[in-house]
């Protein structure tokens, strides 16, 4: 395995790529009892249409998530139970862009890692178990339907994107999951769960060579062609609809504003773009930004406010929002602040102190094994190394951040999604 040292932050990364195309990343952590491992496929809720060997496929919304639920089934029993019985804390999640299976344990790491590699690479779906899971997933979907944060987010995605599957819930709907059969699951597993489309990331008290050995022993040595994904026609910069609103059982209005960033870059450029976006948003809307503090003081925003630049399904997009007694006023003020920065640029002193604070934030994130592990997979799929970001951050200038805002946070292209309480607003 290749060893890369990051002395400035006290971390070492071991990495390799196997003949089957699997990428492996191990960040050993000395002095810790726990280890975290995740086996991640570059396959999420948005990867519904694809072409493999000339054949085009179109799958129902919710397959990636359904697969996540059924992957734990093994001919000899349930792998989740096996991991839990061994004392590991195991789980999985499906996002728009990826599906990750992970565990944290304080003993038997080697054995647990082997269980993880084995069950994720073993498709085993019976008609009976697939049918039974439908009721559980339907309840999960119902839970999201009642979750105002989820609903305000889906509202925004539908406004922003005309064709991209980011429009649809990762879990699908109670309707679309009716069409998911064992065969659909087998087909998608075959295409997307090949090691060439996956990453194995470990953070903790683990031996890198042993991790690589386990992967070599348990996974196929053959490589496979990658599917070509189809996210629909190119998206223009304008949203489909500028504003939407729905009524739910909430105490106060919730809003989420957003903009499209255009096609997502890959490689080192992606890293620079993401760091610039992160720093620009921190200066513009972060907890210590003049705009947030002003709107907080005016009572238009509260501690629920957040913002981020996200990348999935070939697209970048910015979202910002939270609770507000007056979502339209808050949104207008946020966009006006962006317009002002577009014209005048950021105050260099503000930028410098935000950059300093950003270093602290990045360093703090290294202590979160799960987020570090998942970010290694994310970086792998987008073609960059997240641990390089400490150095890369140095290269982002105040002019870069200002230019990013000028180019991307264009008020005329923004969309606003609102969830309102039942009664007239207080």
């Amino acid at each position: 395995m290749q060893r890369i040292d990051y002395p400035a932050i006290g971390e070492t990364l071991y990495t390799s790529k196997l003949s089957n195309g699997l990428s492996i990343f191990v960040v050993p952590k000395k002095g810790y009892r726990k280890s975290f491992a995740c086996f991640v496929t570059n396959y999420g809720g948005a990867d519904r249409r694809f072409t493999l060997a000339g054949e085009a496929k179109d799958t129902p919304a919710g397959v990636a998530h359904y697969l996540e639920h059924k992957m734990f089934d093994m001919p000899e029993g349930n792998a989740l139970m096996a991991l839990e019985a061994a004392g590991a804390n195991a789980n999985a999640f499906t996002s728009e862009a990826m599906t990750a299976y992970h565990f944290t344990c304080t003993q038997n790491f080697d054995e647990d890692l082997r269980t993880l590699l084995r069950f994720v690479s073993t498709p085993y779906y019976t008609q009976e178990s697939v049918d039974k899971e439908r009721g559980i997933i339907a309840q999960e979907i119902r839970m999201y339907e009642d979750d105002p944060d989820d609903q305000v987010y889906m509202g925004l995605m539908r406004q922003l994107f005309a064709h991209n599957p980011l429009r649809d819930d990762v879990a699908g709907t109670v309707q679309t999951i009716q069409d998911i059969t064992p065969q659909v699951l087998y087909d998608c597993h075959k295409v997307f769960y090949h090691p060439s489309n996956m990453a194995l990331c470990v953070v903790g008290d683990a031996d890198p060579e042993a991790v690589e050995r386990a992967a070599r022993e348990l996974l196929t040595p053959e490589s496979a062609p990658l599917p070509v994904r189809d996210y629909g026609p190119a998206e223009g910069p304008e949203p489909v609809r500028a504003r939407s609103e729905r009524v739910m059982e909430v105490s106060a209005p919730i809003f989420l504003g957003g903009l499209k960033l255009g096609p997502a870059a890959t490689g080192p450029e992606a890293q620079k773009e993401r760091l610039t976006a992160g720093l620009a948003l921190r200066c513009l809307y972060g907890r210590s930004s003049p705009t947030y503090l002003d709107l907080y003081d005016k009572g238009l925003l509260n501690g629920t406010f957040g913002c981020s630049a996200d990348y999935a399904a070939g697209q970048g997009f910015v979202i910002f929002g939270g609770e507000s007694r007056d979502p339209d006023a808050a949104n207008a003020a946020l966009l006006a602040a962006a317009e002002a920065v577009g014209e005048n640029g950021f105050d260099p002193a503000l930028f410098d102190r935000q950059k300093k604070a950003s270093y602290g934030g990045q360093l703090r994130a290294l202590g979160d094994f799960r987020s570090l592990g998942v970010s290694l997979a994310e970086g792998c799929f987008a073609g960059y190394q997240p641990l390089d970001s400490f150095q890369a951050l140095e290269t982002v200038t105040c002019a870069d951040a200002s230019a990013w805002v000028r180019e991307h946070i264009v008020p005329g292209r923004a969309a606003l999604s609102v969830v309102r309480p039942k009664e007239a607003k207080v």
Binding site: G10, K30, G31, Y32, R33, K34, M81, E84, A85, A86, G87, N89, T104, C105, T106, Q107, K132, E133, G135, I136, I137, Q139, E140, R142, M143, E145, D146, D147, T173, V174, Q178, M248, E249, V250, S251, A252, I254, R287, S288, P290, L293, Y296, D297, G299, N302, G303, T304, E323, R353, Q354, K356, A357, S358, Y359, G360, G361, L363, R364, G367, K422
Partner: protein
Amino acid sequence: MSCVRETRREILPGVYMTCLQTDKFKTGLLSVNLLTRLSRETASKNALIPSVLRRGTVNSPDMDALAARLDGLYGARLEPAVRKKGEIQCVGFWADFVDEAWLPKGESLLERVAALMGEALLAPNTRGGLLLPQYVDSEKEKLLEDIRARVNDKISYSRYRMTELMCEAEDYAVDVLGTEAEAEAVGYVALTRHYRALLASSPVEVFYCGTADPDRAERAVRDALATLPRGELDMDLGTDIRMNTVEEQPRSFTEDMDVTQGKLAIGYRLGAAMEEPDMAALQVMNAVFGGGVSSKLFMNVREKLSLCYFASSAVDLMKGVMAVVSGIEVKDKDRALEEIGRQLQAVKDGLITDEELHAAKAGLANDLLSAADSAGALESFWLGQNLLGLEYGPEELAALVEDVTREDVVKAAAGIECDMVYFLRGTEEDEDAED
């Protein structure tokens, strides 16, 4: 060094400081907590105080100045902390900051962060000795928003309502943020008076975790809290444990709401097991019953009957209560209730397989050992231990868990009685249903 060295000493009258010295983490953590009785009359005022204090200090008079100061400390965070531990309300701040090993040579943050924390707690921006009315009004509005927002998360709302109804005659019913009515009545003069009294009468728990040795950390905090007024301290804080249910039969309450999924929240008293509580056995009992994916609730209510996406139980060993929460179709309420009761009975009857017991213990030990790898989890764990007067750490508790037997679990479960069944009934039309 790497290994953890732990001390707990009284550094000022009624101010106890726990120090964990370790070089495991890249960031240090410091928290200061004023301890006071949780009550209907004062919960909102107490909850409001750290947020108002966080608006500005004598040296950094507004949030902009504080934000710039924290950014300059490499993005150190200083946040209000308001927690409910049994019937004690813990009110103060927590901070985390980059450890000096990862800063340019000669820079160090511990003393500067401690000083800022002390300043926020003891030297707020005031006029004529009173907290600024605009800060109080603004934070009061936000507290009201937070109190009203409880309804937004239907799962935690159901648990909160169940607790409020089950313990209506006990302080435990009080939410950590208090009530809308109490919050609305707060004025800046009365709040200032309350703040001064709280400072003077509260025992204080301080926690530090990082590379600094305890002597240095204690000195930093002692200097920062040097002007803390000390009056007559309320040293008999504690939690009243009710052994029996309020009525012979479980009370029940149904609330209608325009949502698609019903939420069932069931409250229990742990009973006689709380007389001399065996913490390890009680935790294992909860893990077997509904703690994780190998628990009886998950395996049966979800996996076998597909009645729900989640069903889990949690115990509060300070109060001696247990809560089960599950999200279900409205029509399945009785089936779910019956199945949950059946699974609890199975635990009481000792119908626990070796696999179930082993998985529960292994999972719990794993959680405890993992907690030792997180500064935040350690802080919360030790605050709880200190309030209970217990001296063992997570590793030692993990070892105790290993020794728990089936008989211990049965004993821990023997006196459990259901006291409250709360149902949040969804009334929204089921548009996706096929028939």
